[in-house]
Amino acid sequence: MRRTAALLIFAALRAAPAQNARIDSLFAPPVRAELNAVLAGAAADRLPSEPLVQRALEGARRGVEPARVVSAVRAFADRLRIARSALGPASTDAELVAGAGVLYAGADRTTLERLRRVEPRRDLALPLIVMADIIERGVPRDTATSVIIALGEAHVRDVDYQLLRQSIVLDIGSGATPAAAAAARARGILLNPPGPRPPR
């Protein structure tokens, strides 16, 4: 037991400098300090730190000014906190990142809470990614929320969410309004779910 704890501490000590090293190589000391403070806060709240580091690296690689990178990483950490609180402490890192994306797209925390209520045991990463994607493509936020929650209530499969996204993209490309495309395609999946359902 003591040995395991020692190993965990050793691994944590090794991991932390590795993340800092990537940030240290790209940012000046004042920015570095701010980013490390955000990372430390996230670690204290047991939020995944790697997505935060990657967001900082993305900003640096894209040539975004450092102050904007710090503010983006800080806001992302805040959204991860909200997602954790809405989706529950057992939620996976992928769910938290996807949930933060939905929040950034304009949905509120009650959407995440409702989706968790209707799908308590499912990995919600894919439904959340699809929700953010269709909002990005112009589906009104309320429509996107209703559609994804309706599919969640029907316990559709992952492939149905992928089908919904692809169909909406095609319909919009053919000239349909995003709202109409989302409503029609969701209705089609709910009325006639393709293929056999897996045993639950």
């Binding site: 990537r22 790697e50 997505p51 990657q54 967001r55 690296l57 993305e58 900003g59 640096a60 690689r61 894209r62 975004v64 904007r68 990178v69 983006a72 806001a75 992302f76 996976t92 890192d93 992928a94 990142v97 996807a98 994306g101 950034y104 797209a105 990463a125 894919l126 990614i129 699809v130 953010a132 994607d133 990005e136 493509r137 996204r165 490309g173 053919s174 000239g175």
Partner: protein, 396 residues
């Protein structure tokens, strides 16, 4: 053509090629490709002037637009040169949507019996593309003005082009009807009762002609080289030559230099008084760094997509399918946002083996050194930095 005129025509060609690109911001220039051809050619009947050939293209190929500027100055016969600049713009919505094209051409040439000529074509029409099949119909008007000896010649006509393409095979039909109006000043002297009288009159003639032609082109790739074979035939009231044929080949020497050769027989252009000629030319083609990707195959068009799968050893394979390019790179949070080149794996198929953990990953793709974009077929999100990014969900 005098050396001064030749130099002017070359300079005009170079300016037509380079000026529009130089005026663009650097970030926009990166999405354009351009080529410049410099070489030499011979014709039969024999060319007695300097047989230099100068040409070039500038392309912008986005997801929904194709803009092209082509300029070419090449030897004709009897010290004549043909210089042409063409602007083309095509827009489409979706892979199978409707599009429109407007093109204009302005050329100057000195054909036998026609010392100078200026021609302008305007075409517009819809096109439809689905997969490898493309159908287009363009209607247009054409105007030619020039002068020969003591004549002033004006030709105006109507064009109807139709094109059908299946992959690398294209058939184009063209119907042309034009009126040529020639005006000549005639001075004559006649004697009445021993006295000379001078008279001045203007003689006008109008000739109406029409013809139809069909041309087939086949593109063929052999190893690294690209070949195009062309054959055509014409029927109509005025026939300079009933058929024509030719071939061109491009052999890449490096990623930025290729050898281009053309050989064949051109048909006459009746409305422009240009006779049929045999020709052969060799040129060096210079590409800019974002060259040689076919604009029709821009990412996101057609069946292009990014897939992820695991190989038998459990490593993640990222595969990009349906993108015609010579270089594809990916960067994302799976590789610390460091660009990684994919390796070609068959026709329009690219692969990258990467260590990617399960979860949501953000990714961007770059084709031929162009702008970083969301890969085709993946979910999209606007990042906190105001730009779109692709999302990949990797499961265990």
């Amino acid at each position: 053509m005098t050396p001064i005129a030749l130099a002017r025509s070359r300079r005009a060609t170079a300016v037509a090629i380079l000026l529009p690109v130089a005026a663009l911001p650097r970030s926009v220039r990166a999405q354009w490709r351009s080529t410049i051809d410099v070489g030499s050619g011979v014709t039969a009947p024999a060319l007695s002037g300097r047989p230099a050939l100068v040409g070039g293209t500038i392309d912008y190929a986005g997801l929904d637009a194709l803009l092209r500027i082509t300029s070419r100055s090449e030897p004709m016969m009897d010290e004549q040169r043909w210089t042409e600049t063409r602007f083309t713009a095509a827009f489409r919505r979706g892979a199978g949507g409707l599009g429109a094209m407007v093109s204009g051409a302005s050329s100057t040439s000195g054909a036998p019996g026609l010392a100078t000529a200026r021609r302008t074509d305007l075409r517009a029409g819809p096109s439809w593309k689905h997969g490898d099949t493309q159908v287009a119909a363009f209607a247009g008007i054409s105007r030619l003005s020039g002068a020969r000896a003591a004549d002033r010649v004006s030709t105006a006509g109507a064009l109807l082009d139709r094109a059908l393409a299946f992959g690398s095979f294209r058939v184009t039909t063209q119907q042309v009807a034009f009126d040529t109006f020639a005006e000549r000043d005639v001075d004559s002297v006649f004697i009445v009762a021993g006295f000379p009288f001078h008279s001045h009159s203007r003689r006008q003639t109008l000739v109406r002609e029409r013809y139809a032609s069909v041309q087939a082109d086949l593109d063929w790739r052999l190893g690294r080289s690209e070949w195009t074979f062309t054959g055509g035939a014409r029927a109509g009231e005025q026939l300079g030559s009933r058929t024509w044929e030719g071939m061109s080949a491009m052999l890449p020497l490096t990623s930025r230099v290729a050898l281009v050769t053309e050989l064949g027989r051109r048909g006459s252009i009746p409305e422009q008084h240009l006779p049929a000629t045999r020709f052969a030319s060799v040129a060096v083609r210079l590409f800019n760094p974002v060259a040689r990707a076919r604009p029709e195959a821009a990412p996101g068009v057609g069946a292009a997509r990014l897939d992820v799968a695991r190989d038998s050893a459990g490593a993640l394979i990222i595969e990009v399918v349906g993108v015609d390019a010579y270089r594809i790179e990916l960067m994302g949070d799976f590789n610390d946002w460091t660009p990684a080149s994919l390796r070609p794996d068959g026709e329009r198929r690219w692969r990258l083996s990467a260590r990617v953990t399960a979860g949501v990953h953000r990714v961007l793709m770059r084709v031929n050194g162009g702008a970083w974009r969301v890969p085709p077929g993946v979910s999209t999100e606007t990042s906190e930095f105001g730009e779109q990014v692709g999302l990949l969900l990797v499961t265990r």
